[in-house]
Symmetry: C2
Subunit: 458 residues, 2 copies
């Protein structure tokens, strides 16, 4: 492991030496930080994990023979590694503001900014937004850790990301404050509006808070299979990087989106490093569990990238599988259909495979609900067990597979071993994401009148 | 308790309404936030403290009959309350930067800053330093919590504040970067130097990191008596406020130090609110223990105030009692004199009072050490138990009071009940602090050729 460290420091040093005049300077540095983050996380996890069990942070892996005890909340390790790497990243990301004369007490009588063309970094006046993003992220890590420690009730923890997003929103207000959004062309034409953007004012802050609540929670509810929390986050970050590269590869630095996607990529690449290291230990059969901390942390990274990069609508497109999972869960979450205490897949120790878990209807369901369930089964969205009433000839629904995407995949492709199940979900997520990306740059321009991806429409 | 909330919101609202054109606008708002912080902390502590015991965060109070179990690490509650209040404080502290035209993607084609004279807030370009301070503070809270959870070894935890100070130092480098300090007049004259300041360059960052390490750790080692950790932090913050008011009361807004001391006061006042609430529960007999988290949090608040306000040397003057405690402990810390496992005062359940704890010398000490101990006893800095060797007539030192300021106070004034002991220490600390403050503004100007407190020397 000492070797790995040596190598990564070497790579870091090389990258820093080579990047002074490249067009992608921040990206080279971020790759170096990513490698460093991977190595640090890989170094710390095996050394720290027993300490987590010792203080009571552990869980049982229910889908394994003997239900072994696994350390929980290990996601705090990549999260803290990441945030401190991002602090050290600052001098490689932003132009320096040089105070030439000061009367003391922190005053800035004469000051200049470093030359942009020479250094190819981000303008100094974007530093505040970056710092506010890091404050939100660190708040999320802190609140996530507290949630893992104290097991906060579901209806409270749902709002933790909104609290963590306070610094991001407040600094946005003080430091940027633009709250207008583009109106799709067809709406503009239909209502014959004389303007093509609308100022949401305070509504824009509610929208940003909603994005911050949505991303962490939607990752948190698509969970419970070894490697799934980290895997889906990695797929999401790869999709976002693909989207970024659409703007970066043409090297059109005059495009208004160029900088914001370079920024997004620079934030995501080190994230991929630390998450890959976590996946190494969290993949089937898991040696560690990631905890709510990691789901919150990941979701907040995406929310920050989307908000600061001003592409939060595109961001939400990549969350389609999570949105589907949520909508699909609604009948059970809101008790329209009975919801058992656990909805994780059923583990069969004989063949070491997972089967869809089922909810048994003790009382007969309302006939309308039964009809809908049967319709869903015909659409291949459920697996039911039905019985024919001997007297009336009616069909009675006795059991149904639980309403989660994980069970649905098992209905379609199951039974599967846990790692194969995870892989199938990740592959589907990736394919849906690529589809969304293509749709974004084909249907999007048609709706809004233009695409901010200039090379595509020119 | 609902009443308290109502009242504090009322005060907050009033303060916000009244403060638009006052010279002390940030201070009025900070008083309102302070009251709010006090109320929130008072509301949360009694409701949350049992949850801390439940997850294993508790300690035994050794200086009470029956050694009751007390929840530990409660300092995380005022710390988190404080940091989120400081996020919400931002719009009341800093001028807004208004982006008038943007090409999208977070770009700022045309932007202006709000008018300083109209709003009487801090310039927008200081926002980054403030955010970096909050990042360091939040990192300290996070690392403090991890220390309390995992009981990190002494030689590692000593450096946690240095890690937490990384964002502060890095943003200082990117955003301000002035690293020169004034040379005292007598040195300048003696060496006939042609300049009156010297550029420490990288050394200045080491100095700032040292201040960040020193403040939290020095509070952490003067601990172990109900109310002492919070009490000494409150005395420190009152002394710093006294120092600030020397610069603020003359209302000389052209003084270069005016802004930095207004800033310092604005940061300290809400801190006093949340700490007072903690003291309410931590004062003798303690219902809660504060944990390392609180000591680190407090120390970091002071370090940030001193570094961002550019008066870190003055700050260190107020830490004289803590510095004395450290120097006084050195013989035992570095094993020059044997050190027992615990050095807390000895509790006598009969009279409910504390007595100096003692170290018993099993082996006879080296005669030089014995002579020094006897000298210290004559200077009233130790209490010894000696024996005369019947054969040789030599005086042998058998026992000594332990080398901590707490035991020394008990040697001087003991035995004392725990709360009286704490009060005596706090009063002494306050008196020494006021003495330092006076010395700062009388000897300081003589050493440096001028005082930045203009009204005093004019």
């Amino acid at each position: 492991m000492g070797n790995f460290f040596g190598i990564s420091f070497l790579i870091l040093a090389l990258a820093l030496l080579l990047n002074t005049h490249s067009a992608f300077q921040p990206l080279q540095t971020s790759v170096a930080f990513s490698i460093l983050g991977y190595n640090i996380t890989c170094y710390v996890i095996p050394r720290a994990k027993d300490a987590f069990i010792k203080i009571g942070l552990y869980g049982k892996d229910m889908s394994k023979k003997g239900k072994p005890i696994i350390p929980e909340t290990i996601g705090i390790i990549p999260a803290i590694t990441y945030i401190f790497l991002m602090f050290c990243f600052i001098p490689f990301l932003f132009l320096k503001f040089l105070v030439i004369d000061t009367s003391g007490g922190g005053n800035r009588e004469i000051g200049i900014s470093q030359d942009y063309d020479k250094f190819k970094l981000f303008p100094h006046n974007k530093l505040s937004s970056y710092l506010s993003g890091m404050l939100s992220l660190e708040s999320m890590i802190l609140l996530g850790l507290i949630d893992d420690l104290f097991d906060i009730r579901w209806r409270h923890k749902f709002f933790l990301p909104a609290i963590a997003s306070i610094p991001l929103l407040i600094v946005y207000y003080v430091d940027f404050g633009v709250t207008s959004i583009l109106i799709p062309n067809f709406i503009k034409n239909y209502f014959e509006l004389p303007f093509n953007n609308i100022d949401l004012k305070f509504g824009y802050y509610i929208y940003m808070a909603a994005v911050s609540i949505f991303c962490p929670n939607s990752i948190n509810i698509l969970a419970g299979v070894n490697g799934l929390e980290v895997g889906q986050s990695l797929v999401l970050s790869i999709l976002l990087l693909l989207n970024d590269s659409c703007y970066l590869i043409p090297l059109d630095k005059n495009s208004p989106s160029y900088d914001s996607h370079l920024f997004s990529a620079a934030i995501l690449i080190p994230y991929i490093g630390v998450s890959l290291a976590l996946l190494k230990f969290n993949w089937y059969p898991s040696q560690v569990f990631v905890g709510d901390t990691f789901c919150y942390f990941s979701g907040m990274v995406f929310a920050i990238v989307g908000i600061l990069g001003h592409f939060s609508k595109t961001l939400l497109l990549f969350f389609i599988p999570q949105i589907f999972n949520f909508l699909y869960s609604v009948p059970q979450l809101f008790a329209i259909i009975p919801c058992p205490r656990h909805r994780l897949p059923h583990f069969n120790p004989q063949d070491n495979k997972l089967y869809p878990s089922r909810v048994i209807f003790d009382k007969r369901l309302n006939p309308i609900k039964e009809k809908i369930l049967i319709l869903l089964e015909n659409l291949k969205l459920l697996s039911l067990i039905k019985e024919k009433d001997i007297k009336t000839g009616e069909i009675i629904v006795k059991e149904s597979s639980n309403f989660t995407i994980i069970n649905l995949i098992l209905v379609w492709f199951g039974p599967l071993r846990e790692d194969h199940l995870c892989l199938v979900i990740l592959i589907l997520q990736f394919l849906v994401g690529v589809g969304s990306l293509i749709a974004r740059h084909t249907i999007g321009p048609w709706l809004f009148g233009y695409d901010n991806l200039h090379w595509l429409v020119q």
